[in-house]
Symmetry: C3
């Protein structure tokens, strides 16, 4: 579906410097773009790519427009505007209403007529699938789960039990929501399992990555608020609360009962131990580990960048003898 630059400018509130009647059909990188593509520039470091682009138009900041050899769609936030234009030009496929013959749906479940249920799906007792929802091949939606309108479960997702999911969410393959939290009581005879009786409540516009796991609550629910973005292979423990619009990159792990504020960002391999509370607008850098409450917004870190192993090992060895160094300084101070 081609769309004119004029219409893009109007729809997304950009200033157009160029011919409004040029039509585009797709997005592409500056280097790969053809005359039916729009592209974007968010980082002036890539300006050399701008000079040679063959795009029909580039979404960029006013300060970069003078350097643009083609039409400019000028925006204060070119990345977000590019994202919105890309979504318009490359929409997710609309669900094809209906239930595949191989899907198994419990008689007590409710599937909206406009929803698409793919092959090999299982939908359990009292589950509810909303309007225009898509349940991909191999997915399992267990008993007492509800999937909101316009939500997509890609293939092989497991929504286990007592999970409520809002509207317009996206779950990537292999994600597991509602499995038992990790609750065990030690006894002289070994662990006694603490029954995990709560559920999971997920808001609207949430995206959950491939093979990420979100456990049910022990008593009460694990909660993921509106607009949260969680990448692949992350773990959210029982009774955690992830505040609205917080984002977590790959392999982040939030232990049980921790409360994460709104608009936080966790970089890859980071995490929080259990029972901590983190305020809004906290950023945790890669491999950073939060071990106690955080009450002040800002960036937090606890990891070292890799360096050559010989140099690193030398530093580690010195670190291990830091007590001796302190003693040597104390001795000097005493004038011995």
């Amino acid at each position: 579906m081609p769309i004119s630059l004029g219409e893009l400018a109007t729809r997304f509130g950009c200033d157009l410097d160029g011919d409004p009647d040029i039509e585009v059909r797709m997005v592409a990188s500056l280097l790969d773009a053809s005359p039916v593509s729009i592209s974007f520039l968010t980082n002036s470091a890539w300006k050399d790519r701008l000079f040679s682009t063959k795009a029909a138009a580039v979404v960029l900041r006013a300060s970069d427009a003078a350097d643009c050899p083609v039409a400019s769609l000028i925006s204060d936030d070119p990345y977000a505007n590019y994202a919105r234009m890309a979504a318009l030009l490359h929409p997710s496929p609309a669900p094809v209403p209906g239930v595949h013959a191989s899907a198994v749906i419990d008689a007590s479940a409710t599937v909206a007529p406009s929803a698409q249920i793919e092959a090999q799906v299982f939908i359990g007792e009292r589950a509810i699938i909303g309007e225009n929802a898509y349940v991909g091949p191999g997915c399992v939606v267990g008993s007492d789960c509800s999937i909101g309108d316009d939500t997509r479960l890609h293939a092989n997702v497991t929504i286990l039990r007592q999970v409520s999911i809002g509207m317009r969410c996206i779950f990537h393959p292999g994600a597991v929501v509602g499995a038992d939290g990790f609750g065990n009581a030690m006894t002289p005879d070994g662990w006694v399992k603490v029954p995990q009786l709560g559920g999971v409540r997920i808001g609207n516009d949430v995206e959950i990555g491939a093979n990420t796991t979100i456990d049910c609550g022990t008593l009460g629910d694990t909660i993921v608020e509106d607009g949260v973005r969680i990448d692949n292979l992350c773990q959210i423990g029982h009774n955690a609360l992830i505040g609205a619009h917080t984002a977590m990159a790959g392999s982040t792990s939030i232990a049980g009962s921790s409360i994460i504020g709104k608009r936080c960002m966790f970089a890859g391999h980071s995490g929080a131990v259990g029972h901590v509370s983190i305020c809004d607008n906290v950023i945790v850098s890669a491999q950073g580990m939060i071990t106690k409450d955080i009450t002040e917004a800002g960036v937090y870190a606890s990891s070292f960048p890799a360096e050559k192993v010989q140099e690193w090992n030398r530093k580690v060895a010195r670190f291990r003898r830091i007590g001796v160094l302190i003693e040597r300084v104390s001795k000097l101070e005493k004038g011995d």
Copy 2:
């Protein structure tokens, strides 16, 4: 199924301070409990919640009983006793014997008559499913695997090949047991795969978390002993041995051929490199990394707690110049 406080006290060996004829139906947190619920108090820090609870009774230590406004079930180990009461009041659903029509079961497999095989299951050659076992929707039990009596595989679990699982185990969705270990021999032409020919042996009363992976042995078996608890997204390498009643929290990774003792505890994001041996009763803190044999029980650590990035970066910069500091001290010592 209501049960009286008197019967709970008798069955679990608690002292009851209250009316033995009061009946309860469920467990709940101190804050949410209603007069048909029991609750528990394990940490005196939450005593203010005790004062206002509406529970029928609270499981707690003798030292907290005087502060309890409702009936007390007094126990030396309230958490374990609460867990046992919760399991009694909220039992896991019993399997409904039978094989779903959509399940595919190899003719050479054996399924006990009391087992439940759910929709979209695949059971391979010579596999054995025990009495009262539950195999959830989308699970795969491959050739030469055996699932013990009363064991539950939640949805989309993969038990691949040559895996023996004991009784009363629980496997959460997406868990993978018996995939090839990571064995490769480097040659000038690239890696040559080392065939992974062993299996996996898992004891009784083991619980394995969602999307956790346990590889088969190269030669011989990977072993998980009785009572082990492994959380989500953990990795157990080929030929590892996990001792009885050891627990591992989310994203723990144990590399190949490592031997972990009994009753060890690994916190989140921790791990052990390959070919190490860890004795019984070792605790590894979050992000801790075991790199060599441990022969003494205790707590081991190797990670830093996160702090504000400006302060952290300053410390890292100083750490990097620690060699210079040592030289300055040496110079002072020499009286230069």
Copy 3:
């Protein structure tokens, strides 16, 4: 299928010290081997196991041959030669051509006649399955994906969309390839999803571990070159490039747009942040985190080995006061 030591020696270019007519049927460890087994010795530290082995023959280096009580298959690279012999004696099962009745295959897909499609499989629009390929139970191969000749997808693998996979690859259960990368633009109203429009290209002879995730590119493709070996629970972000014959152990995480050279090795729980470039032949140790470009081959590290928590905490406390120590030294230098 028994094979003689003479034939093994000829086929794999070993020197045989022993009776060429002895036949073997299997591989085994030195300790478990029987007279119909071959075993191997790669590490002289295990030489005591050599002395007592009951194997028919042992693959080993010339320098160890004198100590071998049974026949020797002498090789400069006994581990790789053992691996090749093991593959000959224990071949992967050949696919049984055909499509299981429960599999669902889109009419526009192409499945080679020699391929095996197992139970509960879903194959989407325009997908292509090559000759002798094996698609295990519960796998999903989505639209516009192609699976090369002789490639095996074990159970419950998800190849989502626009993924091209070469020949002779192995994908372990739960692996997810082609899910959306983690691309979001922050706005005052929350995150706007950046459409992920690229695909994934995977070369020949690649092995991908259980529950590992490889995201599609944002624009352009994520690329995994020939011979790469990725272990379980690893994450490869959008538009990353993993160079030929690179190996990554469990729980490694490579963030988006990073370029990893050829023949690199990442140990467990290691990773690279986004947008870095790493040259060939780089080794990253366990929990090592690459934060900037690496242009020189070698070993890189950034993690500490665990030690007793009391000692560790003391070091951490001293590290936190390193600024004070520096001031004390400066004061001494000034002669105050």
